[in-house]
Symmetry: C2
Subunit: 573 residues, 2 copies
């Protein structure tokens, strides 16, 4: 069932949504945005819509299958945006039989609305006392009110203040808001609509139905086997978290350091996954923590401070990089504090870290000054002019400070892999309809990890094909609700992909082939590009900022040299 | 002769510039940018170029013929930009035989360079003591160093700080920096290149040569007669300045008030040209002041404060509006102070006023609070975070504060005519390659003033044709160096246009027809649109912000309803 919430008259209506049947996750959210949102709409205006979309495998408990998608026109990129997230919400909404919730319009009077999802359907409640609360406090209040077992997604003050880099925080299986729909400023869209939170209570629901439950179990087992076999998903990630990449990327010369001025960070080992795991062990935190139901990789963690109090969780490589190497900071506790503050005020750690890096280059503070960086993040919480600049993301920060070395594509900050040293990632950043996004086509696999083949990261050759294939596969994975990390396993173990196909088919009684699913992935990209074209993205917007093509990155001293003409062939399918 | 300055090696080279012969002003600057600047260049980066282009009639002393053009890729719009300016510079550079100066590259080391133009050619000098000076102080220093008779164009701290709304200030005939190449942030481009000022000394030059001086004089006389005959150019503008429009537009319901929330301002008469003229008379200032050599309209003025000290000059309708009605401010002295401060720090009054209006709507300060508005402009001078936000222009200010009612097109603030009540202006704002710009096709003529025919300002009918014709004619006028206000006369008096054609033909020995000149105007628009297309402006970018189409403007309660499809036909020629 779909639910449509009109904030103009505060109505909630259900509808079958025939036109969206057979779609899930990113395929669903992007289709709804493409079909229903005027591409010229102001992202914070009445015509934009915020979509919560459950995935094809939502509610099944599939291995690593708990993710859901949020979609809208992005205030950060001014294009279409899908931001997917782990945590407990996707599973609960799936179990409740909800395919999507579409929030439309703007409230006539300011309010602090909560979308309540349960076996009674979807309802809207104004809870004024949530106004002005940050994410951890909002979650505490909502748990108090609705019980400890509900899943919560909510915005902090950054979202309420409509900051363009505002995220939406979601609770994990322990109820802590350690997961974020981080990118593209969907928290600001939520804030513009007066929605503070979405709360799902799946009590009273037993289990969902399958067209062929036995076949589903066979498929699930195949995927589980692949995940338990592949060394990345069964060893590296559970042991060290995604932070295991810090040393790997620094070694490869692709760890953007001090606002993308070099690719190797002398403090990499101080902030890498190995060190983090040791610190966690010493202080009694937790590694090998799963972020959502069905997770078999368990790359998340609980990170405690020196006194043993929980400081943060879901402390990812991207965040460790953006507020670590990218700022010249090698103090893991300070980075953890920044991560916590971003999660609490509700801003994307990538865009915020990159924005602070740009501010460092502008002379606002010194590279390496983590105390001052923490203070700046507090400014976001205060919504001071400086805080609002950073909260608007790296592109706006660069504009405000008149900088030219601003690592963004389509208004969104470039993540933790320098495109001059990991050129497949560069192709993805330049071309994905999402704005710079590492997950949209994670070429680190073949470029750096030797997963799914090998493509020399420093050569322009083969990167377009690599990125194209990964972008198609990713659009599919993002539609199933599976964590993208299953890609590590399925790229090398054919049985894993078979399992995914079998699970989806068995869920709905389909007979789709791998090619059918890949066609779904292609269609997602077509939908998204169609929206962006109508939203004004013209010739040449699929490219990297100038300095990546002109400024050599140490230690390899390479520039990004995939020809622009080749970038224009990425979507030739 | 053309001069090419490379800031990378500080070289200055002269060249004949065969490829640019027969072009002047906007036709020349836009052609150079279109031919030489990579559309994907970062506006503040090495590949952008800053062009100073003299006009077809430069140096002739033609009636109202003293203007020149600056061009570059704009940091404000990210598209092509031509900003033209009066004052003494155009005449002197023309007399010195300079067609254009093209500034390329970025300096390897920071400097505060001055471009010196004289009968010895063009030279570059580093004058470190100018660093950090605002425009009035810079001009004083340069007059001290180079004499009172030189013409000066320079940036203030806003330009040095690469603020995207930074202007370039130029001296008038008395040597005061009351004229600005205001729009599109060309001051930031100048700042990025380390250029603080351009100084022209035409001593030693007698007069320029004409192919047929007698014919030139006949043409000049025709234009002069038209200017001395038409009531707008011979009576209204000299007596009251452009501020005469305040009451006219308020009466017409098209004076955007309090961030474009109504079209009529109750304080209009307090700040209009009639009141200004009376205040000036009382305090011993000057009305009927000419801003550039050959000016016969003399719509400028010298405005003194209550104590009789000169406060500002070139106090235009657009500035009076942007910091008056648009802010709900009816204190002319406070507006004059804001105008002075913008001119001194070096930011565009239109984008700054509109940015403050957006900040007022965001709750940063109250509508009508002119003292706080003055303080905010001082923040621009301090380059504080708040000052940098405003100095980056209205579009960025809107982004930073998460606002949706942000009156901008292509990143540039919409000027003093509400597009819902002056719909021909709306078409111009939406479609001109310059970003929102009233001068690019000034439909106020037929919409409001009954000049050049009449087109109902509230009807969508006829506006596209009106704007198209005006945009073509304007591109031509901007290429001749004539003040756009000659349009008032030539739209109604055929002899005026004949005079322009005859002057240009006689200057160069051409036999061009009116149609030939109009073709030049069309080609300017083609050049500019070609650049913008390659710079990424795609489908749908020629439109107004959503709220103009959805929110009715009192008192007429109309929306902007020229269909998007019709807007796409503006350049069908």
């Amino acid at each position: 069932m779909f639910y449509r919430i009109n904030m103009g008259d505060l109505s909630v209506k259900s509808e079958p949504g025939e036109q969206y049947q057979g779609l899930g996750g990113r395929a669903l959210s992007s289709r709804i945005v493409e079909m229903e949102v005027d591409p010229s709409a102001h992202p914070l205006g009445e015509k934009n819509k915020l979509v919560f979309a459950t995935s094809l495998l939502a509610g099944t408990g599939a291995p690593n299958g708990g993710r859901m998608s949020l979609g809208a026109k992005s205030p950060l990129t001014e294009g279409i945006k899908e931001s997917n997230v782990g945590g407990a919400m996707g599973m609960k909404m799936g179990r409740l039989g909800i395919l999507g919730i579409i929030v439309e319009g703007l409230p006539k009077e300011a309010g602090t609305y909560v979308i309540k999802v349960s076996d009674k359907g979807v309802a809207l409640e104004n809870i004024p006392e949530l106004k002005g609360l940050d994410i951890y406090a909002t979650v505490a209040k909502l748990h108090e009110k609705f019980g400890e077992k509900v899943a919560i997604g909510c915005i902090g003050t950054a979202g309420e203040n409509r900051m363009a880099a505002a995220c939406v925080g979601f609770t994990d299986m322990e109820g802590a808001p350690t997961r974020q729909a981080g990118r593209g400023g969907l928290g600001a869209v939520m804030g513009s609509k007066g929605i503070k939170a979405i709360v799902a209570d799946d009590s009273g629901i037993n289990k969902i139905t399958f067209a062929d439950e036995a076949a589903y179990r066979v498929g699930a087992k195949k995927l589980a086997n692949a995940l338990l076999t592949h060394p990345v998903t069964s060893q590296a990630l559970p042991a060290y978290g995604t932070g295991v990449l810090v040393n790997i990327l620094s070694e490869a010369g692709g760890l953007p350091t001090r606002n993308f001025s070099t690719g190797r960070f002398e403090g990499a080992n101080d902030i890498g996954g190995e060190t983090m795991a040791a610190v966690i062990k010493e202080r009694g935190g937790k590694t090998g923590h799963g972020c959502s139901p069905g997770c078999m990789i368990r790359c998340s963690q609980i990170y405690k401070d020196k006194k043993g109090a929980v400081l943060t969780g879901g402390f990812e490589y991207e965040s460790i990089w953006s507020m670590g190497a990218n700022l010249g900071v090698n103090d893991l506790d300070d980075i953890a504090m920044m991560n916590r503050l971003c999660d609490d005020y509700g801003v994307d750690t990538i865009d915020t870290g990159v924005a602070i890096g740009v501010a460092m280059e502008a002379g606002v503070l010194k590279f390496g000054d983590s105390k001052e960086a923490i203070d700046l993040i507090h400014e976001i919480g205060k919504a001071s002019p400086m805080g609002r600049i950073l909260g608007a993301g790296a592109a706006i920060t660069g504009k405000v400070f008149g900088m030219r070395r601003v690592p963004v594509v389509k208004g969104q900050a470039i993540p933790a892999y320098d495109p001059r040293a990991v050129k497949g990632q560069g192709v993805t950043y330049a071309t994905t309809p999402m704005g710079a996004d590492h997950t949209a086509g994670y070429a680190v696999t073949a470029n750096i990890l030797g997963v799914g083949g090998k493509v020399d990261p420093l050569s322009p050759d083969g990167q377009v094909d690599l990125s194209r294939n990964l972008q198609i596969a990713t659009a599919l994975v993002d539609s199933t609700g599976l964590c993208l990390f299953v890609a590590f396993a399925i790229l090398d173990i054919a049985e894993g992909l078979e399992g995914i196909v079998e699970m989806c088919n068995a869920r709905f009684g389909w007979n789709k082939t791998v090619d059918d699913y890949l066609e779904m992935g292609k269609q997602v990209l077509r939908d998204e590009r169609s929206f962006n074209k109508s939203a004004g993205f013209g010739e040449g917007t699929d490219d990297l900022p100038e300095f990546f093509r002109t400024e050599k990155l140490p230690p390899h001293n390479t520039v990004f040299d995939v020809p622009k003409e080749d970038l224009n062939t990425v979507f030739n399918f």
